[in-house]
Symmetry: C2
Subunit: 229 residues, 2 copies
């Protein structure tokens, strides 16, 4: 039976899971659970994830939730996932766990609570600590790990903010900006495709006409990114 | 060079790390970083952990922080740690990751934010979901994993509350109560030894003319505790 991924692309951890599957050629079925329709709170979905959160996966008889746990499982369970995503080396792997838990205690809470102070402090720590190595990715990596994917997907949620606010948040953090760009490129074209839904919401919020319908979402995002970076 | 564990036994993740080392016969040096004296904020400690949080470890040239990440590392790096603490089996291991990330997103935040509602909801989920299996430990295990140790150490922080408040929190959750006892027994005598400092503080608090209790009660005490973490 094919891997089932229960997700809503409006949610950043859902997107990280989907991008991971696509980038690594993991064959899966995406089952949309519409959070805006409260589908994640139904008894049917509680059978999949009793915590009623997204994403969740079913792989044969095995059910799993919590996005980081899912990313680690996928990296281990499916052949062909490159080692850089979740290195076999214990020291490298431990550092990735360290980022992922740090993410949960800091960045993810910051976004959820819209606590600007915590967000700035988190961005500052990414800039000055996690990105202080030689490579363009977290922990000095030359290629992305699941930690890069997860954190960048989290930060993409800020894309719905207007230009002024985005610049206020990201402006001081040049390495963070570059890192987002590198992660996006390393997971192209899936990264943009999976974020189309977010860009559509952004369009609605800013009352601009939907360009995606005419020109294709990914290309529209491409333009935005080029104009920004 | 011997493993160095930087910890303050007043902090629950520190205690989890120390108990884990002791139970598994890992030879280590415990270096006290006194949070009440703000020693975790010194430039010296920032060399060990730039995030200025406890616990942190140094193993030879390898530095690591975030308590769950440390527990996983210790389970993998030191020979003689029984498999049940962090099973090699991918499915079992993934479920443990799932608990640990859930812990960070829920239980740990509940304690930090003094959010009674989230605490009750977390205890309820431990009782009805994580402890629903046949065995006395999380995920139906017959022996504890690092997830049991981490979560029970978190809940022990509530031990400083007075009897009435503790009963109010734990009273409805019989399985949780049993599970705490089982985890304590499985890690005896280290569990109690490492919690002595907490019990001493509790004694001080209860022997005082209940200044705290009269002016804000359990929440106030909890707040005091958390401010030291």
């Amino acid at each position: 039976m094919k891997l089932e991924v229960y997700a809503d692309r409006m949610s950043q951890p859902s997107r990280a899971g989907i991008i991971f599957c696509k980038v690594n050629g993991i064959d899966y079925t995406e089952l949309k659970v519409d959070i805006s329709k409260r589908e994640h709170l139904t008894p049917e979905f509680a059978e999949i994830n009793p915590m009623k959160q997204l994403p969740a996966i079913v792989d044969g008889k095995f059910k799993l939730f919590e996005s980081h746990s899912i990313l680690i499982y996928l990296a281990c369970a499916f052949p062909g996932v490159a080692d850089h995503w979740y290195p076999a080396d214990l020291f490298k792997r431990s550092k990735i766990h360290s980022v992922l838990y740090w993410h949960h205690s800091n960045l993810r809470r910051a976004a959820a609570a819209e606590a600007e102070k915590l967000l700035f402090s988190s961005l500052s720590k990414i800039e000055s600590f996690w990105l202080k190595g030689d490579g363009p990715f977290l922990l000095g990596g030359n290629q992305p790990s699941i930690a890069d994917l997860s954190l960048v997907c989290e930060l993409m949620q800020l894309e719905v903010l207007d230009e002024k606010d985005r610049d206020r948040f990201f402006g001081p953090y040049k390495k963070v900006q570059q890192w987002i760009k590198h992660t996006r490129n390393a997971t192209s074209p899936h990264f943009d495709n999976v974020h189309i839904i977010l860009m559509k919401v952004k369009e609605k919020l800013t009352n601009k006409p939907l360009m995606e319908a005419n020109h294709g979402g990914a290309r529209d995002i491409e333009k935005r990114w080029r104009s920004r970076m």
